[in-house]
Symmetry: C2
Subunit: 384 residues, 2 copies
């Protein structure tokens, strides 16, 4: 059944007429998983082809070598949530003939730009691992430190290689064979995406390891909104929408009203896993947010609800630039004691409900509504 579904979907995609989902049996299928299984290989194939060509035409061997590293980095396993949302939104809104091959390229661009940001993020956070491999600045340090007396050669080269990715991204956009008016609208959304994400990142950096905590502005929600809800859900949905050739202001508002709660829920889930998750279930250490001193909703809620002496204690523990295991344990216990764990879970549920309600209102085709519904389900579920 599933195989048949995939083949049919795929063959019709190829022909540029994707109107299958209505016509076939649906029960028990997770449409988002199906969609991912069909399209992640397409996105990755384009990324690999793009870099293969770059490697082939590199005039110097050092360029070819570095393009191999960029290729390996960009093609590492990942959820590809942003390009998939772009494609879902495009296909769900696009009436008539699809131009799927070109849209897949633009999805790949979003993934390459994600690598651009991850490289910078790892330099900033001094992280050593990324997506099951070495962070790029670590890789570069190992490769190039024998060449120069520059002690920062790893982060210096990684930073510049990130710029290569943004130039590559613009090259792909320039070469994409789509309507130029639509491309121009896409470029505007693209610009907003990286502006707003940068602002979210600035806020995040300024409020990590804080020396003073000001609870008047709800900083954790603002960071989540810019860094995650806008970046991961809203802008990819908007990109797909404008690529479908549409430009209705009301629908754009509805997309925002759907995307932002879902994106906030996505971030809150990530916060909960990054504070209370077990590595064996989540694949990432369950104390990373505490150690990095990230201002998550768990922390801000705890600070709001604790009495003054407990609050001061939490601030003192949380602001340490190096934290012992017992400090981490104590911070977790204080979050639970304050009721912040429960209130954060409640907030997460409320956001999920809001996105379900808003999804109904979207003027996107029913098939793609079901795929989005499956995405909501996956964000709803929290396995610590």
């Amino acid at each position: 059944m599933e195989k048949q579904f995939n083949k049919l979907l795929y063959s019709l995609c190829e022909k540029g007429r994707l109107k299958v989902l209505n016509k076939i049996e649906r029960k028990g299928i997770n449409y988002f998983n199906e969609f991912s299984r069909d399209f992640i290989p397409e996105i990755d194939r384009f990324i690999n082809d793009f870099f293969s060509e770059k490697i082939k035409i590199s005039p110097y061997s050092f360029m070819a070598d570095m393009y191999k590293d960029l290729n390996e980095y960009c093609a590492r396993d990942g959820k590809r949530i942003r390009p998939l949302l772009l494609l879902i939104s495009y296909l769900g809104y696009k009436k008539g003939r699809k131009n799927l091959n070109e849209i897949i390229k633009l999805g790949a661009v979003i993934e390459m730009m994600h690598s651009f940001l991850l490289i910078q993020d790892d330099i900033i956070d001094r992280s050593v691992l990324r997506r099951g491999g070495k962070a790029l600045h670590i890789l570069c340090r190992e490769k190039f430190s024998h060449l120069t007396g520059n002690k920062n050669i790893g982060s210096d080269t990684a930073l510049i290689l990130a710029d290569v990715l943004f130039a590559n991204s613009l090259e792909i956009i320039g070469n994409a064979e789509i309507n130029l008016k639509v491309k121009n609208e896409f470029l505007k959304i693209f610009a907003s995406t990286y502006e707003m994400t940068a602002w979210g990142q600035v806020l995040d950096v300024l409020h990590s390891l804080p020396k003073d905590i000001n609870l008047k502005e709800n900083i954790s929600l603002r960071i989540s909104s810019l860094k995650t809800a806008h970046y991961t859900i809203y802008y990819p949905m908007m990109m797909g929408y404008v690529l479908s050739g549409k430009g209705d202001k009301w629908e754009q508002k509805l997309i925002k009203d759907f995307s932002l709660p879902l994106g906030m829920a996505f971030q809150i889930k990530d916060d909960i896993l990054g504070t209370f998750g077990k590595k064996e279930n989540t694949g990432k250490p369950g104390d990373s947010d505490i150690i990095e001193g990230k201002m998550t909703l768990l922390i801000t809620s705890a600070l709001e609800n604790l009495n003054e002496s407990d609050r001061d204690k939490l601030i003192q523990l949380f602001s340490q630039s190096k934290k012992s295991k017992s400090s981490v344990k104590l911070i977790r216990a204080m979050i639970e004691k304050s009721g912040a764990f429960e209130s954060t879970i409640r907030e997460h549920n409320a956001l999920i409900k809001r996105s379900v309600r808003m999804l109904e209102k979207l003027d996107i085709s029913g098939d793609y509504k079901m795929i989005l519904n499956n995405i909501i389900d996956s964000i709803k579920e929290i396995n610590l």
Copy 2:
């Protein structure tokens, strides 16, 4: 006379019909200086207006504050050579009605992208000053280090603010009201510009403070070609050319043959000033290249021409990550002794001659040829 010239030029520019230069007296005028005096304020005005608007519409006060810093940084005094070349090339190639206001915006974009690269460059080189002010990472460190325990807060925030500039640049491109086919060609050149510049920057970083020197590949010329000749002269000329609506392959080859020698001469002049210049004449310290361990043509030529024992001594001196005043003096003396100073000056002259010869062949209007000729003259002159 000059004032009349400027007024006439300007009023005709405003009307979108710039065909003045032929019609007025020319003797004794440096057309490039005139052109700069007319257009630098236009470029800067757009930059200031752009940021004023950003400051006005910032939803959060932290954004408005940071936009003020970016505005101050981007508007600092500079030669604006890249946007001016873009404008010269556009006006020199464009027949018929000009769309000067929109092209000035794209010139401003090139200047903002230059700031993007300068911010990163200063982070990489740990420079503290830039264009008569503090490097952005120093400014950010002073402003934000009271907020967080993060010791790298200066470079972390500056790095992200650079990304804001590239997003801003794409926003301006997206909003520019020019023919969309022309804009798409511009976007492709734009992408190549920052790809090739990044590769030049990678090479530069990898070969600074070298542990081992391989003279087989002439690395200093390769770095100059990518980092300066392509970035500063060739790509701005090409941007102006495609913005004029033209796409002749032969003319593009001629632009390259003109631009690259001129750009190489520009870099060699900079190398000579950065090694032998006096600060009171040049405004920058005359030992910076030696201290940073930059692989300039002066160094590679010296290494080629010295006997083995002198070469080993030069390599040993040059590779020190900290150099004493007497080391710097000794390195300079060895460059002179090897004959590299003279041969580099000869190379500079030859490149200048080549660019003069190639300028004749360009199909650009005579007025703008004269402006370009004045640019060649300014690069020709070396005052130590």
